[in-house]
């Protein structure tokens, strides 16, 4: 695990249909310490997914720099694991093979990579599903696979792009609790993108509020862990914190 530093990051592109230059992300600076968990929250179109795609190396940035462990980002790489909103599991691979995919790509032998995969599947309580195809699992289970597939490759930074936005509300709460549990067990550096303010506060050590491509403010979340919805739902500090972030995001 390594730290992530973003300096004066901007993204502008030319909209050929409108014939104008569009700025999606404007001069953002951010630093995430090793083993930290931050959420980036904002309404749709605020540029949060663009930021994540630039960190992942899926799209180039226009100016500024992105450093992972001091090294500048050039394209996608296995030092940055990604969890997608659409899960993006390989439909033609079993759950076990999906999780073993990263180790396979870096040349780990079959027995060893399956051992790694089994270990991570157990962490997400997925051992039973190892031999099944993604298509045969519920959405919530598919995304558990998505999370451990990224983690099994031991990335320096884990990038999560609204990973729980397409599962039902009850499953989402379970997944959120499980994510905090897994994070405490493995302590990866996490950047979590979401439009859900309560989710952002529940998960993170720090919430970055974003609007129209700019950082509005950063709010430290010093709620005790392990975090459980049953307790936090009634917690006054949690309520006031989500209230503050919500106000911030809505006012901009």
């Amino acid at each position: 695990m390594k730290d992530l530093v973003i300096r004066n990051l901007s993204k502008t592109y030319f909209d050929a249909y409108a014939g104008t230059q569009v700025t999606a992300v404007r001069d953002i600076s951010l630093s995430v310490a090793e083993g930290d968990f931050i959420s980036i929250v904002g309404p749709s179109g605020c540029g949060k997914s663009t930021i994540l795609n630039m960190i992942a190396g899926f799209i180039p940035h226009s100016s500024g720099e992105i450093l992972v462990g001091g090294k500048p980002v050039k394209g996608p790489g296995r030092d940055r694991g990604v969890v997608f909103q659409s899960f993006a599991l390989f439909p033609w691979r079993t759950v076990l093979e999906n999780v073993a995919f990263g180790p396979k790509m870096r040349g780990v032998g079959r027995a060893e990579r399956e051992k790694i995969a089994h270990e991570y599947l157990a962490l997400a309580k997925l051992s039973e599903a190892a031999g099944r195809y993604p298509n045969e699992l519920s959405g919530g289970m598919q995304q558990r696979v998505g999370v451990v597939r990224a983690l099994a490759n031991e990335p320096d930074v884990l990038l999560m792009d609204e990973p729980f936005a397409s599962v039902d509300a009850q499953t989402r709460m379970t997944l959120q609790e499980e994510l905090t549990r897994i994070w405490e067990a493995k302590r990866p550096t996490v950047i979590f993108i979401t439009h859900d303010v309560a989710e952002a506060v529940f998960l993170a050590n720090r919430v970055v509020a974003l609007s129209k491509g700019r950082v509005l403010d950063e709010i430290a979340v010093d709620l005790p862990r392990p975090r459980v919805w049953d307790e936090l739902n009634e917690d006054d500090r949690f309520k006031s914190m989500t209230g503050r972030v919500l106000q911030l995001v809505r006012s901009a």
Binding site: A56, G57, F58, G75, P76, G77, R78, R80, G81, V82, F84, S86, A88, L89, F90, P91, W92, F101, G102, M105, R106, Y133, P134, N135, E136, R149, A150, N153
Partner: protein, 269 residues
């Protein structure tokens, strides 16, 4: 009185559950029965339309003399050789065109141009170039198989969600490995569709080619029978074409499709 047909139906359902091939034969029974009745009533002269019994007898004697097995083998070998090259060239080309915009803009227009010149339209010039032989037949089949394979492969490659590319890259897959790990399996259901269409067209083109340039094969047998005025053998040839295609499709292509695309949820049942 209503119980009897229901009971009969129950027997039929159990029977076809045990031997599914009976279920696929059943739809042909009325056709054969109608054919038999028409010939028995002597609506058309026997020489123009022989009955099922005569066709079966002709099948028996052609098998006995060894002509039919030999011709069948010739036709199938030609189809397999042609289909092999069609797929071996078509799939890599389809992947190239699907992945590279440059390859697409360079190859797509000629592809459409040559697709429009039907396989049979090549025969006159192919006969001049390669004569009445296996080369001409193979070229025609490759030509027929390759277009549906290329076009469906391109479609398959392009329909792979971008997130799957991204997921593989961020898990450390190299560009070369992407082809084997993501592109090929992702495009496989479409490649299968292309092969299915290609083989179907190829089979038809083969028979047409054999009629024109052949010296053996099912198509040649049918055309030769016309010269001899033997309608029985023409009908036999037609029936064999249908049965063979049914076997290729339901014993080879369909099981592969069930084991891949359907299992993965990429194709709806």
């Amino acid at each position: 009185m209503t119980e009897f047909p229901l009971k009969l139906w129950g027997h039929y359902v159990r029977l076809t559950a045990r031997w599914p091939s009976i279920g696929s034969l059943a739809p042909f029974l009325p056709v054969i029965a109608a054919w038999w009745i028409v010939t028995e009533l002597q609506i058309f002269p026997r020489v123009f339309l022989p009955g099922p019994g005569e066709v079966v007898r002709s099948f028996g004697s052609l098998v006995y003399t060894g002509i039919l097995p030999e011709y069948l083998q010739d036709s199938l070998v030609r189809l397999v050789v042609g289909a092999f090259w069609g797929v071996a060239i078509g799939v890599p080309l389809g992947i190239l065109i699907g992945l590279s915009p440059r390859a697409h803009s360079a190859l797509w227009p000629p592809l459409l141009f040559f697709q429009a010149i039907g396989d049979i339209a090549w025969l006159p010039i192919l006969v001049i170039w390669f004569g009445y032989g296996l080369v001409t037949v193979t070229v025609v089949i490759v030509y027929t198989v390759i277009f549906p394979v290329i076009i469906n492969t391109v479609l398959g490659v392009r329909s792979i969600p971008i997130t799957l590319h991204r997921a593989a890259l961020s898990l450390g897959a190299s560009r070369a490995r992407m082809i084997w790990e993501v592109i090929l399996p992702g495009a496989l259901p479409n490649i299968m569709t292309g092969m299915r269409n290609g083989l179907g067209y190829g089979w038809r083109a083969l028979i047409a080619t054999e009629i024109i340039v052949g010296t053996s094969g099912i198509g040649f047998m049918m055309f030769d029978a016309r010269r001899a005025g033997s309608v029985v053998e023409i009908l036999l040839g037609m029936i064999i074409l249908g049965i063979l295609w049914y076997i290729v499709d339901s014993w080879i292509l369909a099981p592969v499709e069930r084991a891949t695309g359907q299992r993965w949820g990429l194709v709806t049942r």
